[in-house]
Symmetry: C2
Protein backbone atom coordinates (compact mmCIF):
# COMPACT_ATOMS: atom_id res chain seq x y z
CA UNK A 1 0.00 0.00 0.00
CA UNK A 2 1.19 3.47 -0.86
CA UNK A 3 2.31 5.62 2.06
CA UNK A 4 -0.42 8.15 1.44
CA UNK A 5 -3.01 5.40 1.65
CA UNK A 6 -1.41 3.95 4.78
CA UNK A 7 -1.57 7.34 6.48
CA UNK A 8 -5.28 7.59 5.79
CA UNK A 9 -5.97 4.08 7.07
CA UNK A 10 -3.86 4.54 10.19
CA UNK A 11 -5.40 7.91 10.99
CA UNK A 12 -8.86 6.48 10.57
CA UNK A 13 -8.11 3.61 12.94
CA UNK A 14 -6.43 5.80 15.54
CA UNK A 15 -9.16 8.42 15.39
CA UNK A 16 -11.82 5.79 16.00
CA UNK A 17 -9.83 4.18 18.76
CA UNK A 18 -8.68 7.20 20.73
CA UNK A 19 -10.74 10.12 19.50
CA UNK A 20 -9.67 12.50 16.76
CA UNK A 21 -8.82 15.20 19.27
CA UNK A 22 -6.29 13.01 21.02
CA UNK A 23 -4.39 11.97 17.92
CA UNK A 24 -1.75 14.32 16.57
CA UNK A 25 0.19 14.11 13.36
CA UNK A 26 3.12 12.87 15.45
CA UNK A 27 1.05 9.98 16.78
CA UNK A 28 0.07 8.96 13.30
CA UNK A 29 3.65 9.09 12.04
CA UNK A 30 4.95 7.17 15.05
CA UNK A 31 2.29 4.52 14.62
CA UNK A 32 3.44 3.94 11.05
CA UNK A 33 7.15 4.20 11.91
CA UNK A 34 7.59 7.06 9.56
CA UNK A 35 8.83 10.55 10.31
CA UNK A 36 6.55 13.55 10.86
CA UNK A 37 8.29 15.18 7.95
CA UNK A 38 7.29 12.32 5.72
CA UNK A 39 3.68 12.67 6.76
CA UNK A 40 3.80 16.34 5.89
CA UNK A 41 5.22 15.45 2.53
CA UNK A 42 1.99 13.62 1.74
CA UNK A 43 -0.48 15.89 3.48
CA UNK A 44 -0.48 19.59 4.03
CA UNK A 45 -1.94 19.11 7.51
CA UNK A 46 -4.23 17.03 9.69
CA UNK A 47 -7.36 18.65 8.26
CA UNK A 48 -6.46 17.37 4.83
CA UNK A 49 -6.33 13.81 6.17
CA UNK A 50 -9.73 14.25 7.75
CA UNK A 51 -11.12 15.61 4.51
CA UNK A 52 -9.96 12.50 2.67
CA UNK A 53 -11.72 10.25 5.16
CA UNK A 54 -14.76 12.46 4.92
CA UNK A 55 -14.93 11.95 1.17
CA UNK A 56 -15.27 8.21 1.74
CA UNK A 57 -18.00 8.94 4.28
CA UNK A 58 -19.89 11.09 1.83
CA UNK A 59 -19.76 8.37 -0.79
CA UNK A 60 -21.05 5.71 1.61
CA UNK A 61 -23.94 7.92 2.66
CA UNK A 62 -25.02 8.48 -0.89
CA UNK A 63 -24.80 4.85 -1.93
CA UNK A 64 -26.61 3.43 1.06
CA UNK A 65 -29.83 5.35 1.08
CA UNK A 66 -31.21 5.10 -2.41
CA UNK A 67 -34.98 4.58 -2.95
CA UNK A 68 -35.86 0.95 -2.41
CA UNK A 69 -36.98 -1.17 -5.35
CA UNK A 70 -38.33 -4.10 -3.35
CA UNK A 71 -41.91 -5.05 -4.22
CA UNK A 72 -42.91 -5.91 -0.69
CA UNK A 73 -41.87 -3.96 2.37
CA UNK A 74 -40.93 -6.31 5.17
CA UNK A 75 -38.64 -6.51 8.18
CA UNK A 76 -35.84 -7.62 5.91
CA UNK A 77 -35.97 -4.40 3.95
CA UNK A 78 -36.04 -2.37 7.16
CA UNK A 79 -33.07 -4.25 8.48
CA UNK A 80 -31.04 -3.69 5.35
CA UNK A 81 -31.56 0.06 5.73
CA UNK A 82 -30.84 0.17 9.42
CA UNK A 83 -27.77 -1.98 8.96
CA UNK A 84 -26.50 0.55 6.47
CA UNK A 85 -27.06 3.25 9.07
CA UNK A 86 -25.31 1.18 11.68
CA UNK A 87 -22.27 0.60 9.50
CA UNK A 88 -21.92 4.28 8.72
CA UNK A 89 -22.14 5.26 12.38
CA UNK A 90 -19.69 2.57 13.41
CA UNK A 91 -17.08 3.09 10.75
CA UNK A 92 -17.04 6.85 11.09
CA UNK A 93 -17.69 7.02 14.80
CA UNK A 94 -14.73 9.32 15.39
CA UNK A 95 -16.56 11.98 13.42
CA UNK A 96 -19.77 11.53 15.37
CA UNK A 97 -17.81 11.62 18.59
CA UNK A 98 -16.90 15.20 17.96
CA UNK A 99 -18.88 16.52 15.06
CA UNK A 100 -19.33 20.14 16.08
CA UNK A 101 -15.70 20.41 17.09
CA UNK A 102 -14.29 18.94 13.88
CA UNK A 103 -16.52 21.10 11.70
CA UNK A 104 -15.71 24.26 13.63
CA UNK A 105 -12.04 23.88 12.74
CA UNK A 106 -12.54 23.51 9.00
CA UNK A 107 -14.90 25.82 7.20
CA UNK A 108 -14.78 23.98 3.88
CA UNK A 109 -15.36 20.62 5.52
CA UNK A 110 -18.39 22.06 7.25
CA UNK A 111 -19.80 23.25 3.94
CA UNK A 112 -19.31 19.84 2.37
CA UNK A 113 -20.81 18.14 5.38
CA UNK A 114 -23.91 20.30 5.21
CA UNK A 115 -24.33 19.56 1.54
CA UNK A 116 -24.18 15.81 2.00
CA UNK A 117 -26.48 16.04 5.02
CA UNK A 118 -28.98 17.89 2.92
CA UNK A 119 -28.83 15.25 0.22
CA UNK A 120 -29.18 12.53 2.80
CA UNK A 121 -32.24 14.25 4.24
CA UNK A 122 -33.79 14.40 0.79
CA UNK A 123 -33.09 10.75 0.17
CA UNK A 124 -34.68 9.85 3.50
CA UNK A 125 -37.72 11.99 2.73
CA UNK A 126 -38.09 10.10 -0.54
CA UNK A 127 -37.87 6.81 1.32
CA UNK A 128 -40.55 7.89 3.77
CA UNK A 129 -42.87 9.12 1.05
CA UNK A 130 -42.46 5.71 -0.55
CA UNK A 131 -43.29 4.04 2.77
CA UNK A 132 -46.36 6.19 3.10
CA UNK A 133 -47.51 5.38 -0.43
CA UNK A 134 -46.91 1.69 0.21
CA UNK A 135 -49.18 1.94 3.25
CA UNK A 136 -46.49 1.33 5.84
CA UNK A 137 -46.45 4.76 7.42
CA UNK A 138 -49.53 6.69 8.37
CA UNK A 139 -48.08 10.15 8.11
CA UNK A 140 -49.05 13.49 6.62
CA UNK A 141 -46.89 14.98 3.93
CA UNK A 142 -45.90 17.89 6.16
CA UNK A 143 -44.96 15.65 9.06
CA UNK A 144 -42.27 13.85 7.09
CA UNK A 145 -39.71 16.61 7.16
CA UNK A 146 -39.72 17.13 10.95
CA UNK A 147 -39.58 13.36 11.45
CA UNK A 148 -36.62 12.96 9.11
CA UNK A 149 -34.93 15.94 10.74
CA UNK A 150 -35.37 14.41 14.18
CA UNK A 151 -34.08 11.06 13.01
CA UNK A 152 -31.02 12.66 11.45
CA UNK A 153 -30.38 14.55 14.65
CA UNK A 154 -30.60 11.40 16.75
CA UNK A 155 -28.39 9.52 14.29
CA UNK A 156 -25.79 12.28 14.25
CA UNK A 157 -25.55 12.75 17.99
CA UNK A 158 -26.38 9.39 19.47
CA UNK A 159 -22.72 8.51 19.89
CA UNK A 160 -21.93 11.80 21.61
CA UNK A 161 -24.96 11.33 23.80
CA UNK A 162 -23.96 7.84 24.87
CA UNK A 163 -20.49 9.12 25.64
CA UNK A 164 -21.84 11.79 27.97
CA UNK A 165 -23.94 9.17 29.73
CA UNK A 166 -21.32 6.46 30.08
CA UNK A 167 -18.17 5.99 32.09
CA UNK A 168 -15.99 4.96 29.21
CA UNK A 169 -13.64 7.37 27.48
CA UNK A 170 -14.18 8.77 24.00
CA UNK A 171 -13.72 6.22 21.26
CA UNK A 172 -14.83 3.21 23.24
CA UNK A 173 -18.52 3.11 22.41
CA UNK A 174 -19.71 -0.47 22.07
CA UNK A 175 -21.64 -1.84 19.16
CA UNK A 176 -24.41 -2.62 21.64
CA UNK A 177 -24.89 1.07 22.42
CA UNK A 178 -25.07 1.78 18.74
CA UNK A 179 -27.78 -0.83 18.24
CA UNK A 180 -29.67 0.90 21.04
CA UNK A 181 -29.54 4.05 18.92
CA UNK A 182 -30.92 2.17 15.94
CA UNK A 183 -33.79 0.99 18.12
CA UNK A 184 -34.44 4.55 19.17
CA UNK A 185 -34.70 5.67 15.57
CA UNK A 186 -37.04 2.77 14.91
CA UNK A 187 -39.18 3.90 17.84
CA UNK A 188 -39.48 7.37 16.33
CA UNK A 189 -40.73 5.85 13.08
CA UNK A 190 -43.00 3.41 14.83
CA UNK A 191 -45.14 6.21 16.21
CA UNK A 192 -46.31 6.69 12.63
CA UNK A 193 -46.84 3.00 11.85
CA UNK A 194 -49.96 2.29 9.81
CA UNK A 195 -52.41 -0.24 11.27
CA UNK A 196 -51.51 -3.77 10.27
CA UNK A 197 -47.78 -3.16 10.02
CA UNK A 198 -47.05 -4.06 13.64
CA UNK A 199 -45.30 -7.25 12.64
CA UNK A 200 -42.72 -5.50 10.47
CA UNK A 201 -41.73 -3.14 13.24
CA UNK A 202 -41.77 -5.80 15.90
CA UNK A 203 -39.63 -8.22 13.93
CA UNK A 204 -37.16 -5.46 13.17
CA UNK A 205 -37.03 -4.39 16.80
CA UNK A 206 -36.58 -7.98 17.89
CA UNK A 207 -33.63 -8.38 15.56
CA UNK A 208 -31.85 -5.30 16.89
CA UNK A 209 -32.62 -6.19 20.48
CA UNK A 210 -30.80 -9.45 19.98
CA UNK A 211 -27.92 -7.59 18.32
CA UNK A 212 -27.84 -5.17 21.23
CA UNK A 213 -27.68 -7.99 23.75
CA UNK A 214 -24.92 -9.93 22.06
CA UNK A 215 -22.81 -6.79 21.74
CA UNK A 216 -23.50 -5.26 25.11
CA UNK A 217 -20.55 -6.61 27.02
CA UNK A 218 -18.03 -6.29 24.26
CA UNK A 219 -16.15 -3.15 25.11
CA UNK A 220 -13.93 -3.67 22.16
CA UNK A 221 -12.29 -0.62 20.74
CA UNK A 222 -10.99 -2.13 17.57
CA UNK A 223 -10.48 -0.04 14.52
CA UNK A 224 -12.54 -0.20 11.40
CA UNK A 225 -10.64 -3.06 9.88
CA UNK A 226 -11.93 -5.77 12.17
Amino acid sequence: MKTRERIIQASWELFNKHGERNITTNHIAAHLNISPGNLYYHFRNKEEIIRCIFNLYEQQLQEHFQPYIAEIVDAELFISYFDALFDTLWEYRFMYNNLADILSRDESLKTNFQLSQKQWAQQLCQNYIQLQQDGILNIHEEEIEPLVDTIIMVANFWISYKFTQSLSPIGSISKGSLYEGILRVLLLMQRYAAPGTEEIFEKTAEYYHSQEMSNKLSLETHGIME
Copy 2:
Protein backbone atom coordinates in the same frame (compact mmCIF):
# COMPACT_ATOMS: atom_id res chain seq x y z
CA MET B 1 -17.77 42.44 42.91
CA LYS B 2 -14.94 40.25 44.13
CA THR B 3 -12.33 39.31 41.53
CA ARG B 4 -13.14 35.64 41.82
CA GLU B 5 -16.77 36.39 41.05
CA ARG B 6 -15.83 38.66 38.16
CA ILE B 7 -13.69 35.92 36.64
CA ILE B 8 -16.62 33.53 36.72
CA GLN B 9 -19.00 36.04 35.16
CA ALA B 10 -16.52 37.08 32.46
CA SER B 11 -15.68 33.48 31.59
CA TRP B 12 -19.33 32.62 31.37
CA GLU B 13 -20.01 35.50 29.00
CA LEU B 14 -16.97 34.86 26.84
CA PHE B 15 -17.64 31.14 26.66
CA ASN B 16 -21.19 31.76 25.48
CA LYS B 17 -20.09 34.39 23.02
CA HIS B 18 -17.09 32.71 21.41
CA GLY B 19 -17.23 29.08 22.47
CA GLU B 20 -15.44 27.59 25.45
CA ARG B 21 -12.79 26.06 23.24
CA ASN B 22 -11.77 29.41 21.82
CA ILE B 23 -11.37 31.19 25.14
CA THR B 24 -8.09 30.75 26.99
CA THR B 25 -7.22 31.87 30.50
CA ASN B 26 -5.26 34.66 28.84
CA HIS B 27 -8.36 35.89 27.05
CA ILE B 28 -10.31 35.96 30.28
CA ALA B 29 -7.61 37.85 32.12
CA ALA B 30 -7.19 40.34 29.29
CA HIS B 31 -10.94 40.91 29.13
CA LEU B 32 -10.93 41.84 32.81
CA ASN B 33 -7.71 43.83 32.59
CA ILE B 34 -6.03 41.63 35.12
CA SER B 35 -2.88 39.57 34.76
CA PRO B 36 -2.88 35.84 33.99
CA GLY B 37 -1.01 35.38 37.26
CA ASN B 38 -3.85 36.99 39.11
CA LEU B 39 -6.36 34.68 37.52
CA TYR B 40 -4.27 31.70 38.57
CA TYR B 41 -4.21 33.06 42.10
CA HIS B 42 -7.98 32.62 42.24
CA PHE B 43 -8.33 29.44 40.22
CA ARG B 44 -6.06 26.49 39.87
CA ASN B 45 -6.94 26.21 36.17
CA LYS B 46 -9.61 26.69 33.55
CA GLU B 47 -11.39 23.49 34.52
CA GLU B 48 -12.01 24.88 37.99
CA ILE B 49 -13.76 27.89 36.50
CA ILE B 50 -15.96 25.64 34.39
CA ARG B 51 -16.80 23.56 37.43
CA CYS B 52 -18.00 26.65 39.27
CA ILE B 53 -20.31 27.59 36.41
CA PHE B 54 -21.47 24.00 36.24
CA ASN B 55 -22.53 24.12 39.88
CA LEU B 56 -24.90 26.95 39.05
CA TYR B 57 -26.22 24.93 36.14
CA GLU B 58 -26.87 21.95 38.35
CA GLN B 59 -28.79 24.07 40.80
CA GLN B 60 -30.97 25.59 38.10
CA LEU B 61 -31.78 22.18 36.68
CA GLN B 62 -32.93 20.90 40.05
CA GLU B 63 -35.05 23.90 40.90
CA HIS B 64 -36.81 24.15 37.56
CA PHE B 65 -38.24 20.70 37.10
CA GLN B 66 -40.07 19.89 40.30
CA PRO B 67 -43.45 18.11 40.15
CA TYR B 68 -46.20 20.55 39.26
CA ILE B 69 -48.84 21.46 41.84
CA ALA B 70 -51.29 23.12 39.50
CA GLU B 71 -54.81 21.72 39.68
CA ILE B 72 -55.51 22.04 36.00
CA VAL B 73 -53.04 21.25 33.29
CA ASP B 74 -53.19 23.85 30.55
CA ALA B 75 -50.98 25.51 27.97
CA GLU B 76 -49.79 27.94 30.62
CA LEU B 77 -48.33 25.14 32.71
CA PHE B 78 -46.68 23.64 29.66
CA ILE B 79 -45.19 26.98 28.75
CA SER B 80 -43.77 27.55 32.21
CA TYR B 81 -41.93 24.23 31.96
CA PHE B 82 -40.68 24.78 28.44
CA ASP B 83 -39.59 28.29 29.30
CA ALA B 84 -37.50 26.85 32.10
CA LEU B 85 -35.93 24.48 29.61
CA PHE B 86 -35.32 27.33 27.20
CA ASP B 87 -33.62 29.45 29.86
CA THR B 88 -31.31 26.64 30.87
CA LEU B 89 -30.30 25.93 27.29
CA TRP B 90 -29.77 29.60 26.54
CA GLU B 91 -27.82 30.57 29.61
CA TYR B 92 -25.53 27.57 29.50
CA ARG B 93 -25.34 27.25 25.75
CA PHE B 94 -21.55 27.17 25.77
CA MET B 95 -21.78 23.82 27.55
CA TYR B 96 -24.25 22.41 25.07
CA ASN B 97 -22.10 23.68 22.24
CA ASN B 98 -19.39 21.28 23.21
CA LEU B 99 -20.69 18.87 25.80
CA ALA B 100 -18.75 15.74 24.92
CA ASP B 101 -15.55 17.70 24.54
CA ILE B 102 -15.81 19.53 27.86
CA LEU B 103 -16.68 16.37 29.74
CA SER B 104 -13.87 14.40 28.14
CA ARG B 105 -11.33 16.80 29.63
CA ASP B 106 -12.56 16.59 33.21
CA GLU B 107 -13.39 13.23 34.71
CA SER B 108 -14.93 14.62 37.89
CA LEU B 109 -17.08 17.10 36.00
CA LYS B 110 -18.34 14.25 33.87
CA THR B 111 -19.32 12.27 36.95
CA ASN B 112 -21.19 15.23 38.38
CA PHE B 113 -22.88 15.89 35.09
CA GLN B 114 -24.09 12.32 34.85
CA LEU B 115 -25.49 12.48 38.37
CA SER B 116 -27.49 15.62 37.73
CA GLN B 117 -28.66 14.25 34.38
CA LYS B 118 -29.91 11.16 36.13
CA GLN B 119 -31.80 13.23 38.65
CA TRP B 120 -33.22 15.38 35.91
CA ALA B 121 -34.39 12.28 34.07
CA GLN B 122 -36.12 11.04 37.21
CA GLN B 123 -37.82 14.37 37.74
CA LEU B 124 -39.03 14.36 34.16
CA CYS B 125 -40.32 10.80 34.50
CA GLN B 126 -42.28 11.93 37.55
CA ASN B 127 -43.73 14.83 35.57
CA TYR B 128 -44.78 12.52 32.78
CA ILE B 129 -46.37 10.02 35.12
CA GLN B 130 -48.31 12.93 36.57
CA LEU B 131 -49.38 13.96 33.08
CA GLN B 132 -50.49 10.44 32.34
CA GLN B 133 -52.49 10.24 35.56
CA ASP B 134 -54.07 13.60 34.84
CA GLY B 135 -55.20 12.24 31.48
CA ILE B 136 -53.00 14.46 29.35
CA LEU B 137 -50.70 11.80 27.99
CA ASN B 138 -51.85 8.49 26.63
CA ILE B 139 -48.71 6.53 27.34
CA HIS B 140 -47.76 3.17 28.79
CA GLU B 141 -45.64 3.07 31.90
CA GLU B 142 -42.77 1.43 30.07
CA GLU B 143 -42.85 3.96 27.23
CA ILE B 144 -42.10 6.87 29.53
CA GLU B 145 -38.43 6.15 30.04
CA PRO B 146 -37.50 5.96 26.35
CA LEU B 147 -39.53 9.10 25.68
CA VAL B 148 -37.80 11.03 28.46
CA ASP B 149 -34.45 9.71 27.31
CA THR B 150 -35.11 10.88 23.76
CA ILE B 151 -36.26 14.27 24.96
CA ILE B 152 -33.16 14.71 27.10
CA MET B 153 -31.02 13.73 24.17
CA VAL B 154 -32.68 16.25 21.88
CA ALA B 155 -32.44 18.92 24.57
CA ASN B 156 -28.75 18.23 25.20
CA PHE B 157 -27.66 18.19 21.58
CA TRP B 158 -30.05 20.49 19.80
CA ILE B 159 -27.59 23.37 19.98
CA SER B 160 -24.74 21.28 18.60
CA TYR B 161 -27.03 20.00 15.89
CA LYS B 162 -28.11 23.46 14.83
CA PHE B 163 -24.49 24.50 14.73
CA THR B 164 -23.59 21.68 12.34
CA GLN B 165 -26.50 22.68 10.11
CA SER B 166 -25.95 26.42 10.06
CA LEU B 167 -23.40 28.76 8.60
CA SER B 168 -22.76 30.72 11.74
CA PRO B 169 -19.78 30.06 13.98
CA ILE B 170 -19.98 28.41 17.37
CA GLY B 171 -21.56 30.56 20.03
CA SER B 172 -23.86 32.44 17.72
CA ILE B 173 -27.00 30.33 17.91
CA SER B 174 -30.11 32.50 17.84
CA LYS B 175 -32.93 32.34 20.31
CA GLY B 176 -35.15 31.48 17.38
CA SER B 177 -33.24 28.28 16.70
CA LEU B 178 -33.58 27.36 20.34
CA TYR B 179 -37.34 27.86 20.22
CA GLU B 180 -37.35 25.53 17.25
CA GLY B 181 -35.76 22.93 19.52
CA ILE B 182 -38.48 23.47 22.12
CA LEU B 183 -41.06 22.86 19.42
CA ARG B 184 -39.31 19.66 18.46
CA VAL B 185 -39.47 18.41 22.03
CA LEU B 186 -43.14 19.34 22.12
CA LEU B 187 -43.66 17.33 18.95
CA LEU B 188 -42.14 14.27 20.56
CA MET B 189 -44.57 14.58 23.48
CA GLN B 190 -47.50 15.32 21.23
CA ARG B 191 -47.31 11.87 19.64
CA TYR B 192 -48.56 10.62 23.01
CA ALA B 193 -51.27 13.24 23.48
CA ALA B 194 -54.51 11.87 24.93
CA PRO B 195 -57.68 12.56 22.91
CA GLY B 196 -59.23 15.88 23.88
CA THR B 197 -55.96 17.56 24.79
CA GLU B 198 -55.28 18.91 21.32
CA GLU B 199 -55.94 22.45 22.41
CA ILE B 200 -53.23 22.43 25.07
CA PHE B 201 -50.59 21.25 22.65
CA GLU B 202 -51.74 23.54 19.88
CA LYS B 203 -51.79 26.63 22.05
CA THR B 204 -48.35 25.82 23.38
CA ALA B 205 -47.02 25.24 19.88
CA GLU B 206 -48.58 28.46 18.69
CA TYR B 207 -46.86 30.38 21.45
CA TYR B 208 -43.42 29.01 20.62
CA HIS B 209 -43.96 29.48 16.91
CA SER B 210 -44.51 33.15 17.54
CA GLN B 211 -41.42 33.24 19.75
CA GLU B 212 -39.44 31.51 17.04
CA MET B 213 -40.54 34.01 14.44
CA SER B 214 -39.78 37.09 16.47
CA ASN B 215 -36.31 35.78 17.30
CA LYS B 216 -35.40 34.35 13.96
CA LEU B 217 -33.56 37.26 12.49
CA SER B 218 -31.81 38.34 15.62
CA LEU B 219 -28.35 36.95 15.25
CA GLU B 220 -27.37 38.51 18.51
CA THR B 221 -24.54 36.89 20.33
CA HIS B 222 -24.88 38.71 23.61
CA GLY B 223 -23.77 37.12 26.82
CA ILE B 224 -26.02 35.89 29.56
CA MET B 225 -26.44 39.31 31.14
CA GLU B 226 -28.65 40.84 28.51
